[in-house]
């Protein structure tokens, strides 16, 4: 009785070999490891290849838990910018600082952690106008020359640390300024909650091109 072993026509025959599985597996593993451990390198490589357009005029900068959108911007010295900072988190306070040289060398479990600010504050000596404040937690002008437009009430102007507006959940603020003559790479980040936001990825990069 051959009925059971009779193979009906139109079935799916599998024709593939060991080499395909091995090379496929090796390739997939390699791709996975690269994407897991070399994410920043891939991103900067892609950025170098594709480039990134120069922002001008109005820029929206969104704060989430724990990242910024965008987390990379290209500015040009002398351009007039209007950055609208918006905290999109439902639950978290976030700030925006820009600077250079973050001291992370001294992290030790029971030593001190000298890493709550930048050594160089980008806003040092920059003229900036703050307008349309909504749900501002506090604001540190540091060494910037600040003009306030609109109600002064929402600001809780404090001292200590870098130039940093801190927004409550849902808050927003507009910063208007001319890009100062400080070309090169600048980092930005949020140091709220003892630096944890920064470490969890709340950071970004600004590439300032000379005029």
């Amino acid at each position: 009785m051959d009925v059971e072993n009779h193979e009906p026509t139109g079935i799916l025959q599998q024709q593939w070999n060991r080499r395909q599985v091995i090379w496929g597996g090796v390739g997939v593993t390699a791709a996975a490891l690269i994407s897991l451990f070399a994410k920043p390198d891939i991103v900067s490589l892609a950025r170098n290849l594709v480039g990134s357009p120069v922002s001008s005029g109005k820029i929206n900068l969104y704060q989430f838990d724990y990242y910024y959108i965008p987390n990379y911007m290209t500015w040009r010295v002398g351009d007039k910018l209007e950055v609208t900072l918006q905290n999109q988190s439902h639950t978290h306070w976030h700030e925006w600082t820009i600077g250079r040289k973050l001291n992370m060398d001294y992290f030790q479990g029971f030593g001190y952690m000298d890493a709550d600010a930048w050594a160089i504050d980008f806003w040092d000596g920059v003229d900036v106008t703050l307008s349309d404040p909504y749900k501002i937690d506090n604001f540190v002008p540091n060494k910037a020359h600040v003009t306030y437009v609109g109600p002064k009430g929402p600001y809780q102007i404090t001292t200590g640390g870098d130039f940093s507006p801190t927004l409550q959940p849902g808050g927003s603020l507009k910063l208007t300024f001319t890009v100062p003559n400080k070309p090169g790479l600048w980092h930005f980040g949020c140091f709220v909650q003892e630096f944890i936001h920064y470490r969890d990825g709340m950071q970004g990069l600004i590439n300032i091109l000379p005029a």
């Binding site: 193979e7 139109g10 025959q13 395909q20 990242y67 959108i69 918006q86 439902h90 479990g109 029971f110």
Partner: protein, 623 residues
């Protein structure tokens, strides 16, 4: 004789189709496509501020697309979707090694797929543990850059080990392979479902491993809320990864318990059911109760993150999550060890060729552990409750050692005055008994609130549960692999190497985790990558032992793989066991038995020479 059978011509496929790509690879490609399509769709209909390509919601929906693509690609399309719409299934399993790389409906193939997947997960999670131990060799951060990285490593290690190894290796792996053989069945009840169930496991594990792409999370394997709501996006891949892995376990539980209930051979009464099968049955019932509970908790947590709902933060009830997690979390540890308890009493009588002592009590023990396991959860929350609430939970927790003791005593009673053959499986089972006693006794201490409040969340706890899980389950898993190796492959391992490697991991294990008790008592907290310098010498030493242990596990794997392929030919029934899997050839044929199995007496009596079952090839021979 010529037979005419009315048979419709297959209509839909005039030309035979050829699959030129391994189903796993096709699955990966379809998964990628599925992710991209669903992700872009989400971004298109619900653009996020600033239009990033991957956001938390789009990563979740993209993941669903990826999972569908993966399941369809590995064979689900031909085997599940076409029949669903009335076309004949076109899926034909290859008969050679190719069958392991795609959807299968054969319980033995599925069992081996599960064993392979969960061994791979064990390797990855083990390497992760090595990274953690490397970090802990120094009191300060030197390997991981951020605390979040270390904590993500801890969380991935714990989650993979619990949901991809502990709950899987013995139940879905050995259970799928041996339960039908041990009850005299030719196949399982829901074989297609079971086949697709396996492929959820690698999908879930890969999701967890990929979670750092969305951000470090720091809640460990318990996903504690409201802490988790403070975490970056990686948290959503924790929920989804575990969802896939637990779903695989649920499908196994449905299939195995239905098979045990409906597919027993003639004469296989409940009173004769083998111990391991009882273990799988009780554990499957546990799985059917508790895995959906934790899945729903995680679905709530996921929605809480995406929407957010405030179930468990200051607006909701922060302690509810603790209860919901541990309501599952404690039974989970019994899910992991019950099959091991059962396996001790499977291996010991065979190796001693002696009647199993108090067989009924061993089974009653399994059943009562299963029933009590849901009553003790709050012993994980002693630091969060009033004194008056502690007593019932301390009481129930200590109660559970009684049924546990039944299984233990059956093993000890069988060993009593036995002339045990000291083979690798029996050696590993003895080691497992020893380790589990250490884990169990320290568990009783932890159930006492005064001790618990002192050592809560220290390495004392880490030592305790690794003693029960590695000591109890992993040692027994390896013992079972050696015990059944001749059945899997028809080949034998090398006894000298087997024993040497057993002693190796025994030393490595006790050196690593024995000292962790002391570390904990000395004040070493868990979930910290940096600690006071006075703890360094012992931590350093623990790490060295841990590397030794890790190498031992890999050596066992290499030895077993070698023996599987090249070991000396094994006799038909090398251990003189009486259970049914030895009634057939090794490895078993496609349909397990070439004839009908008829069981005539129980399997655990060695005081007579009568066979416990017959293989009836012709109906007229039936007794």
């Amino acid at each position: 004789m010529e037979q005419r059978i009315a048979q419709a011509e297959p209509r839909n496929h005039p030309q035979p189709k050829v699959l030129r790509m391994a189903p796993v690879l096709r699955g990966l490609i379809w998964a990628t496509i599925g992710f991209v399509v669903f992700d872009l769709f989400t971004v298109a209909v619900d653009p996020y501020r600033g239009n990033p390509l991957v956001t938390e919601p789009s990563a979740v929906i993209g993941w669903v697309g990826g999972l569908l693509g993966w399941l369809l690609g590995v064979g689900g399309y031909e085997e599940m979707i076409l029949p669903l719409f009335g076309s004949p299934s076109t899926w034909v399993e290859p008969k050679d090694w190719r069958r392991y790389f795609g959807l299968s409906t054969n319980h033995k193939v599925i069992g081996i797929q599960y064993l392979f997947s969960s061994s791979s997960i064990f390797l990855i999670a083990g390497l992760d543990a090595m990274a953690m131990r490397y970090e802990l060799m120094q009191p300060s951060m030197h390997f991981f850059t951020y605390t979040g990285q270390y904590l993500t490593a801890v969380g991935i290690h714990g989650s993979l080990m619990m949901f991809g190894v502990g709950t899987v290796a013995m139940i879905s792996g050995l259970g799928n392979y041996f339960v039908p053989l041990m009850i005299g069945a030719k196949r399982t009840v829901f074989s297609r479902l079971s086949g697709i169930g396996h492929w959820l496991l690698p999908a879930g594990a890969l999701t967890l491993i990929a979670s750092p792409l969305l951000g470090y999370w720091d809640t460990g394997w318990r996903g504690y809320e409201p802490l988790a709501s403070q975490d970056p996006g990686g948290m959503v891949y924790y929920y989804l990864g575990i969802f896939a892995m637990t779903f695989s376990t649920i499908l196994s539980a449905v299939n195995l318990s239905a098979t045990i209930i409906f597919h027993r051979a003639k004469g296989m009464t409940w009173a004769r059911l083998p111990l391991f099968v009882w273990g799988i049955l009780t554990v499957s019932l546990l799985n059917l109760i508790w895995q959906p509970e934790i899945e729903m908790t995680f679905v709530m947590a996921l929605l809480d993150k995406l929407i957010p709902f405030h179930f468990w933060d200051a607006l909701g009830s922060p302690e509810t999550y603790l209860s919901m997690f541990w309501l599952f979390g404690h039974p989970e540890v019994y899910i992991i060890v019950l099959p091991a308890f059962a396996m001790w009493n499977e291996i010991i009588p065979v190796m001693a060729q002696k009647n199993l002592f108090a067989r009924d009590w061993a089974i009653i023990g399994l059943i009562f552990v299963m029933m009590l396991s849901g009553l003790v959860w709050a012993h994980h929350m002693f630091t969060n409750m009033r004194n008056s609430e502690m007593f019932p939970f301390a009481f129930f927790t200590e109660m559970i050692s009684i049924p546990t003791g039944f299984s233990f005593m059956a093993a000890i009673g069988t060993l009593w005055k036995a002339r045990l053959r000291l083979t690798t499986p029996s050696l590993l089972v003895l080691m497992s008994l020893f380790n589990f006693v250490v884990g169990g006794l320290t568990g009783v201490y932890l159930a006492d609130p005064p001790v618990n409040l002192q050592v809560h969340d220290t390495f004392f706890v880490i030592a305790h549960f690794h003693y029960t899980i590695i000591g109890g389950m992993i040692f027994t898993w390896i013992a079972s692999m050696y015990y059944w190796l001749p059945k899997f492959s028809g080949r034998m391992y090398n006894e000298t190497w087997g024993k040497l490697l057993a002693i190796w991991i025994f030393i490595g294990f006790n050196g690593t985790f024995g000292q962790m008790f002391l570390l904990g008592l000395d004040g070493m907290n868990r979930w910290v990558p940096a600690y006071p310098p006075y703890l360094k010498p012992m931590n350093y030493e623990v790490s060295l032992f841990a590397f030794f242990l890790g190498a031992g596990f890999i050596a066992h794997a290499i030895h077993i793989i070698w023996a599987w392929r090249n070991g000396p030919k094994a006799p038909e029934n090398p251990w003189h066991s009486r259970t049914l899997e030895w009634l057939t050839t090794s490895p078993p044929p496609e349909n397990n038995f070439d004839g009908e199995v008829e069981v005539v007496r129980g399997f655990y009596r060695y005081d007579h020479d009568e066979p416990s079952a017959y293989l009836v090839k012709d109906a007229s021979e039936s007794q």
